[in-house]
Amino acid sequence: MKPRTLRYCQAIHEALDLSLARDPSVYVMGLGVPDPKGVFETTLGLAEKFGSQRVLDMPASENGMTGIAIGSALAGMRPVLVHQRLDFAILAMDQMVNQAAKWCYMFGGQQGVPLVVRMIVGRGWGQGSQHAQSLQSWFAHVPGLKVIMPATPHDAKGLLIAAIEDNNPVISIEHRWLFNIEGPVPEGHYREPIGQARVIRPGRDLTIVAVSHMTIESLRAAEVLAEQGIEAEVVDLRTVRPLDRATILQSIAKTSRLVAVDTGWPSCGVSAEIVALAAEGAWSALKAPPVRVTLADCSSPSTPALARRFFPRVHDIVNAGRRVVGLEPLTERAPAAGDPPADVPDNDFRGPF
């Protein structure tokens, strides 16, 4: 029998639905959470099912509402806070980092803050400088936080359930271009362990460590590389804090070559951490300098004309792969009729979001 498949957004929905049903202390809150668009369908119908006490809208007060969620967690609740864009959550850095991340430590381990903050990262279709930031490295930098970035529907469900059941603040960063991808998702309750990467495609010639939407692009790149006779192993990070050092180093030990691919910026990014980890921990295994594939080191431009050079794409990963195995880069064929524009994930994707 073919396994059941869901879209990524449905997998998130199922995780929330299940968690709300299992534990009365779980509640879901955010701008537009109970509205008819349901945060890209991820919260659709939940308010109707669980009541507007448990699935609720909020004022546009990100910092205060984050503090309120934290305070409710200290009083026994398990809030899931939702931001339609990570960029809006920047207003709440104080509450997330100064309060939630520190609470357990600064009070000597007496009490955790079981808070989940879902943040969606925009890309393309004019998602400009204030609507496309992928700041996982900020959160990954901070002790006390956990940070998940699932790439598949399966992990989106399992990691979100694990996050909700975790006794610590967990940041869930969800890439907008993943929401429509489909994949097998088990029914019922299951948890994916936070802090474990996964070898999502085995290979012997190089290791691609990727995360979130870049995992999907890396799988595509691995196929292209395979056509060229290069077998890339793709490690899906899944969690960027805590980092699964063992899985990464093990893969590099096998392949001796590393490409680190991230949805964020380069400087002090997750890709820098991966490369640094490899340099420190897999020194003798590495046979070539590692390569990072990241956003260009500038703010996100709105015009589609610059999207192709700003966002990393399959072609960039392929060339990074070629580089670490010592091959020349390929020049990209010019975009042809029928190719999806560079600012949408596929031809079916429609603006404005």
């Binding site: 509205d35 004022p59 007060s61 400009g128 015009t303 004309a305 610059l306 404005p352």
Partner: protein, 322 residues
């Protein structure tokens, strides 16, 4: 008000209305590849307020800024260029609809993070006061933006320093699809709240451009005269969906009757009725003005479409100011 003045008000509202209708029509071609937040139905606020400003006065706005940009005198060509993602756009294509600017016109910038530009406007007013200039700064924003703590912090400082600042809250009762009632207590009005902070606060019909301009006149005078910041609350209604070109009655969060009722109060029709009542209506002049505006818009669309995209080599060009 003179009939020329009234005609100018009509022209400016019509410019905003038609520009956005054209955007809505052309949007489906998928050439304007950025989120657009149309203000159709809300034109009285930008036009009523901006017509009371001096040329040296400046304005800031948020995501729903086409109207403010145009009413403040922003270039239509550069707006269209921006929506089409072209090099000729007001932000060289880097911004899109949510990041409009026309410094020559005193439109200091619009950015979509709720509440943020209130602080920027307060800061611009602070600069004015430090330099003892007589400029007034206006910030346009919605009823949700006022829920951000930055509003409160800005207001406190503006009151403390008696800054020449006018805050215009366009209260369309909605934040995306969420009604005011899930966001703010029914037991206090926005004006009550602003007064509690120590500001002068007034409210008036946000669909009546003459009422708006009268409130704006008073507010601007107070602010310019050293009376400190003034908040104007303008109840109004957006006709189209929150983001995008269409209507959204399929979503069910509001009923078409609601729109119909508000369309009865269309700011442009209201103005025409006023002109008729006061005997200054001139159907031919209105038609002429509409035709002119349409030509301008057509030219702007043509301009945008013919403009080049920014070259990929410019990707990093504007990151830092030399």
């Amino acid at each position: 008000m003179s009939s020329e003045r009234l005609l100018r008000l009509y022209r400016e509202m019509y410019l905003i209305r038609r520009t956005e209708e054209v955007i809505a029509d052309l949007y489906k071609e998928q050439e304007m590849r950025c989120p657009v937040h149309l203000c159709i139905g809300q034109e009285a606020s930008p036009v009523g307020v901006c017509q009371e400003l001096e040329p040296a006065d400046v304005a800031f706005s948020t995501h729903r800024s086409h109207g403010h940009y145009l009413a403040k005198g922003g270039s239509l060509l550069a707006l269209m260029g921006e929506l089409y993602g072209r090099q000729t756009g007001c932000s060289a294509g880097n911004g899109g609809s949510m990041h409009l600017i026309d410094r020559a016109a005193g439109f200091m910038g619009a950015t979509p993070i709720l509440g943020a530009t209130m602080a920027l406007a307060t800061g611009a007013a602070f600069a004015t006061s430090m330099r003892q200039e007589t400029r007034v700064t206006v910030a346009f924003f919605g009823d949700a933006a006022i829920e951000e703590g930055v509003f409160y912090e800005s207001a406190n400082f503006a009151v403390l320093k008696r800054l020449p600042l006018v805050l215009v809250c366009e209260n369309n009762g909605l934040s995306t699809c969420s009604p005011l009632s899930v966001r703010q207590p029914p037991t206090r009005t926005i004006c009550d709240m602003a007064r509690g902070l120590g500001m002068t606060a007034v409210s008036g019909d946000g669909n009546d451009v003459l009422a708006v301009s009268q409130l704006a006149r008073q507010a601007i005078d107070i602010a310019r005269g050293g009376g400190g910041p003034v908040l104007i609350e303008l109840p109004t209604y957006r006709w189209r969906e929150h983001c995008g070109p269409g209507f959204d009655f399929d979503l069910g969060y509001r009923h078409p009757d609601e729109l119909a009722a508000w369309q009865e109060r269309c700011p442009m029709q209201r103005l025409v009725r006023h002109m008729e009542k006061t005997g200054v209506a001139d159907a031919a002049a209105l038609k002429r003005c509409e035709a002119e505006v349409q030509q301008e818009i057509d030219a702007a669309v043509r301009f945008a479409r013919e403009s080049p995209y920014p070259d990929e080599s410019l990707l990093l060009a504007h990151e830092y100011m030399p």
